[in-house]
Subunit: 247 residues, 4 copies
Amino acid sequence: MLNVGVLGAGGKVGRAMVEAVEAADDLALAGKVDVGAPLTDFLDAGTQVVIDFTHPDAVMDNLKFLVDNGIHAVVGTTGFTDDRLDTVRGWLADNPGVGVLIAPNFAIGAVLCMQFAAQAARYFDSVEVIELHHPHKADAPSGTAYRTAELIAEAREAAGLGKVPDATTAEFDRARGARVDGVRVHSIRLAGLVAHQEVLLGTQGETLTIRHDSLDRSSFVPGVLLGVRNISDRPGLTVGIEPLLDL
Amino acid sequence: MLNVGVLGAGGKVGRAMVEAVEAADDLALAGKVDVGAPLTDFLDAGTQVVIDFTHPDAVMDNLKFLVDNGIHAVVGTTGFTDDRLDTVRGWLADNPGVGVLIAPNFAIGAVLCMQFAAQAARYFDSVEVIELHHPHKADAPSGTAYRTAELIAEAREAAGLGKVPDATTAEFDRARGARVDGVRVHSIRLAGLVAHQEVLLGTQGETLTIRHDSLDRSSFVPGVLLGVRNISDRPGLTVGIEPLLDL
Amino acid sequence: MLNVGVLGAGGKVGRAMVEAVEAADDLALAGKVDVGAPLTDFLDAGTQVVIDFTHPDAVMDNLKFLVDNGIHAVVGTTGFTDDRLDTVRGWLADNPGVGVLIAPNFAIGAVLCMQFAAQAARYFDSVEVIELHHPHKADAPSGTAYRTAELIAEAREAAGLGKVPDATTAEFDRARGARVDGVRVHSIRLAGLVAHQEVLLGTQGETLTIRHDSLDRSSFVPGVLLGVRNISDRPGLTVGIEPLLDL
Amino acid sequence: MLNVGVLGAGGKVGRAMVEAVEAADDLALAGKVDVGAPLTDFLDAGTQVVIDFTHPDAVMDNLKFLVDNGIHAVVGTTGFTDDRLDTVRGWLADNPGVGVLIAPNFAIGAVLCMQFAAQAARYFDSVEVIELHHPHKADAPSGTAYRTAELIAEAREAAGLGKVPDATTAEFDRARGARVDGVRVHSIRLAGLVAHQEVLLGTQGETLTIRHDSLDRSSFVPGVLLGVRNISDRPGLTVGIEPLLDL
C-alpha cells in the first residue's frame, strides 16, 4: 500500500485525483492539502508520494518542502522553465533517494500518439497531421500537434528522408493550420468535439493512421497514477511521462 | 434484356464498361465502337442505350447521331459547357422520346456524400471538409471538395445559419486547402492514398461524419449502369446522377 | 418570442433543457415544474409549448392536461406503446389545433445517420454496422444499431437487392454483435468511449461511411429545440423527429 | 550500388519487384530468373542480394544455392515451418557472413500497427480489433488480426492486466469475428475494400486508434527494399521485418 497525498485537493483536477487515489486498491489517501493548509500534514500521515496540481506561484515552495522531507512528487502544474527545472535538480542532488516527475501532458494516449508517429515517420514517404478541437480554442495548430510535427520532422531528417512528395501547384492559403518544419498540420474546429489528433502516414500502397481522442477532461488520471506507482523507482528528475512508458 | 453499346470501347474506361455490361444479367452488349469506326454499327445491332466515354472533340457528333436515331445515351465525356448542354436540349426537343444523361461524376458514393452533407448542414452549427488524395494531384482543394463546400454553404444560407463558430485568433496560413464561401476545406496529400473525402458536422454534444473512399478507378461503373438502366424512363436531358438517386 | 415550459425541471435532462431555453434568443422560459408541483402554473404563465422529460408513470396525465388546455408538447419520456400513442391521438382529435411530438431519440446526428444509411443502402452491394459504446452498457447490439440494421434491410429488400456478398467459410462465433435481417452489426465496448455508430457501405471500387459520435449527454438539446420551434405548425401526433428534418 | 537479383521474376509480385529495383537509385538489377532458368545466372552477374517470391516447392533449393554461394536473400515465399527454418539456420552456420530474411508480411504499416498495438496495450483498460476486407476472403478473422490479438493478449498478461471490462449481458452470437485469448476481433466484409485493420484502445477519458490500410497489392514493396538494403548487415537468419524497424 502506497501512501499518497494530494496538493491542490480543492481544485477540479485535485478532486479528480483524490477520487482516483481512493478508488485504487494499491493506493491509500494519506492526506489532501489545499491552498493555505500546512504541508506538514503530509509528514504526520507518513505520505510517500504527493501529487501536485496547484499554481506556478506555489509549486516551487511545495517541491522544496517535499524533496527536503524525502517525499516523492508527481507534478502537473505548469510554468516550468529550464531555470526552474535546474533548481529542482539541485535540490534532488542533495536528496539522492527522492524522485520528482514533472510532465506537461499526462494523457498516455496523447504521448503514445506522438511517440509512435515519430517512430513510424522514418518508414513512410508522406506524413500529415490533423488536429481537431472544439471551436472555443484560440490557437491553431494546437501545441500538441505542433510538437508532434516537430518530432516527425526530426525523425525524418535523422532517417535521411527528403521532402514529402507534393505535386500541388494550384493552392489557396486560407485553410486553418500550419507547415511545421515541412510537415503540414491541419486544424479542424467543430462544435461537439473535445480534443483529437490524427497522424496520417503513407507509402506505396499503404497508409498508417494513429489517432488520439480525448473525450473528457479526466484523461490525465491514468497517467498520473502511472507516475505515482513508479516514481519511487526513479530517483532524480524525470520530465514527461515518456520514460515511464518503456517504449 | 437491354441492348447496350459502348463508344470509346478501346479506352481504359470503355474496356471496363464493356466488361461490366457483359457481366450484367439484364444487359446485352449490342456493339462496341472505337475511334474511326462507323456509328451505324449500333443501328444494325438494335442498340437501345449507348455509353459514351470518348473525347470532347467527338462527343457532340456522337450525341447528334444517337439522338436523331432514337438511341438513349449515358455520357461521362467531359467538356460540357452551358452552350453545349443547350445544343443537346435542342436536339432532344426534336426527338421527344429520347433520354440523355450527362454526368461529371458517376461515383454514387461521392454524389451521396455531397448530397447528404448539404442536407445535414442545415442542422449543425459547424462543418468542415477534409479531402485526401495521392501526392501527384496538382490542384488543391479537389473539384469535388470545392463543389461540396459550395453546396454546404448554400444549404446553410437557405437555413438562415450564420458563420460557423471559430475562436481562432493565432493562426498560421500555410496548410493546404481553402475557405470556400466560409466553409474550410483541408487538403491532405499522401503517398498510398487514392481519392477520399470526409465531411465533418458538429453541434452540441455530437458530430456526424460522412466519408467517401474511392479505392480504385472502377468506382464509376455502378453509377453508369444505374444510368443505363433508368435513362429510357427519363426523356430529355438529365445532368448529374443525383435525380436518379431518388433521395 | 415563444413561451416554453419545462416538466421534470429538476432532473438532469430537465435542467439542461431549462438552460437551453434560457440561452435561446427566440425562446422565453415560461415556467418549470417538477414532480408534485401543479401543472396549472403553466396556464398562468401563458405557456405555448411544454417539454416533458419525466417518467412513464406521469407522462400520460401530463399530456392529457396539456392537450386539453391547448398547449403543444415535445416529449422525450420513454414507455410509449402503440396503445398509449392511440390514446394520445384520441385526445388530439378532440383538440385539433394542438401538436404533440414524441421521440425516442432527439440526437439529430443519430437520426440522420439512420436515415442516410437507409437511403444509401439501395445503391451498395455490401453494408455492415459497427456500434461503439462504453463498457458499462448491458445490451449488445445497441437499440439504435438494431433499428438502423432493420431500416437498411427494409431498404435493400424494397430495392430488390439480394444477400450481401460474403465468402466467409471459416468463422468463429464469439465476437460481440448480431445479424439483424441479414445485416451484420458489430458491437465494440471500450473504456473512454461514450456512444458512437458507423455504417459502412461498399460497392465496386468505393465505400461510403456514415458515422455518428455522441460525445456528451447534452446531444439531445438541439433536437428538442428543433421540436419546440416547429411543433405549433404540426397539429396532431408526430412520432420521431424524422418528419421535422425535411429530408 | 547494390546488385540485386529477382527470383520468380515472371510472377505478379516478381514483376513489381523488378520495377522497384530498377526505379531505386541505389540498386542495380543484376538479373531476373523465372521458373526453369538456371540460378547460376546470378553468379555471373555479381549478384549480392536475391529477392525470392516463388513457391514453397522451389524455395528451399533456391536458398541452399544462394547461401552456399555467399548471396544474401530476402524471402516472401510462404510455407516456412519450424523444421524448414532450422534447416536454413544450419546452412547459414556453415556460411557465417550470409544473411537471410524470411518474412510472412512485408507491409511495414501492418507490422507497425501490430507492434504499436502490443506496446500500447499495457496502458489501456480496453482493447478490441476490427479487421476489414473485401467479401471474397474465405477466413475470418484474418491471420494478421488473429496474430495482433495474440500479441495484445500477451502484452496485457505480462503487464498484469486482468480481463477487459465488459458489462454485456444480452448478447447475440452471429456477428463475424472471434474472441482470441480474451481479445475481441470483429471482421467486416465489404465490397470495395481491400485489406484494413484497426486496433482500438481505451482508458478513462481517452482512446487511441491505430489503423492500417492496404490500398493496393504493391504495399509489400517498401518492406522488401528495406530488407534488401539491410540484410548484408544482418548475418544469419532473421524472421519477420520487425528487427529491421528499430522500434
